[in-house]
Amino acid sequence: MSGIEILQIWIIAFFTLALFSFLYKDNPFYRLAENIFAGLTTGYQVSLIWDTVIIQKLWDPMMGGQWWLFLPGLLGLMMFSRFFPKISWMSRVPLAVVMGITAGIFLTTQLHGFVLPQMQATMNTFVTAKGFADYFLASLIAVGVISTMIYFYFSHEHVGVLGVTAKLGIWFIMISFGAHFGYTVMGRVSLLIGRTQFLIEDWIGTFSYIF
């Protein structure tokens, strides 16, 4: 193992431990790691965006004849008007464009990506059902979908039949959240294992080279 590799491992181990130290309380090591982390990532992203967006997606294609790309380029430039109070209103144009496009795209993607497939899947479980168990599960899915939708119905107080159905919906939602919680915690534990393995195997492993 070379000296540079050992140095890299020690730097990584130092920042890992500095960030872990936050579990005890806020301290100067954590603050140092926090500020270096924020500064490094910001600097890295500026260079990344310059290369992958400004050069590769805007400048090079424009020079290659795709002159119409000057429009998004112009919208981007308008954001800089925020530095000049007299014309800062111009920065609202690109903001409005992005927000408008987002809302429009969201509507279609939600309808085609979630609403229609969910409706079809709910009905299709009955098409493929064979026997009591399948029909029971299909009914459970249908009841789950309908009661969950009722929970998100805002035009009426959740009282009476609507209240009971919404309460059933919240049960379905909570069961789904429980499954998500367990699944994600397992993923986090594997991340912790990865970090611990690095500290025990790689970092402590370098001790034999140094001491």
Partner: protein
Amino acid sequence: MFTKWAKEGKPLFLRKIPGLEAIEEAVGRATEMGRPVLFIPGIAELDEIDTIAGISILGRVAQITAQYETPLYVPVRYPLVLAAGQEVVEQAYIKAGKPELYDEDIVRYVAGEQFSFTATVNGYMMRVRPATNIYMGAFFAESLLLAETGNAAGSIQIAGTARPEQLPFFIAACDYTLMGEELYAASAYLSHEPIMMGGLKGQDFMKILIIILIIIGIVLVLFDSAETYLSWFEEN
């Protein structure tokens, strides 16, 4: 149709959403304690509808903090969200009649990477100990890190996201949580703008329609005559 009714002044009923009712109370608590309100409009770019919903709620929260003269801090991860956030907060302060209290640094770019953003915000929470933390927008793996730190700092926490995989963490660590569509409904609920109210009512109408269509589909499947009906829902 619903928007027309709302514009005509016809009362449109919306049921109470507990998390939203709690916002004003939580800002009031921050005022009494003399500590700031922390608002995070998610960590996604402005091309995420959750971020737009978060920014919209930020407008209302900023108006309340301006009225109460409570310090507000809004860390963001993207420059476009920074610009949109500054616009919304400035307008809110003007609307509240307190333009002199507006400071550009209320909304601040913190870091461009997910976990460096989280590390910085967590550090802020432990050092400044804001009385109220409001998380509204798109959150990912950092949701529990933020909410747990806020909890440890003793802040009242209100969260809202449409990310089902992050909602369990907010529910576990926050006092109030807006789930899924409640986040989108919040903007209409808080603003009572006719267009938004009309939109929300229209969505409710569509939900009932979808439920009816699902029930019709199931009945047709059970009677073995749903082939054509089901094909209407297929992607072309």
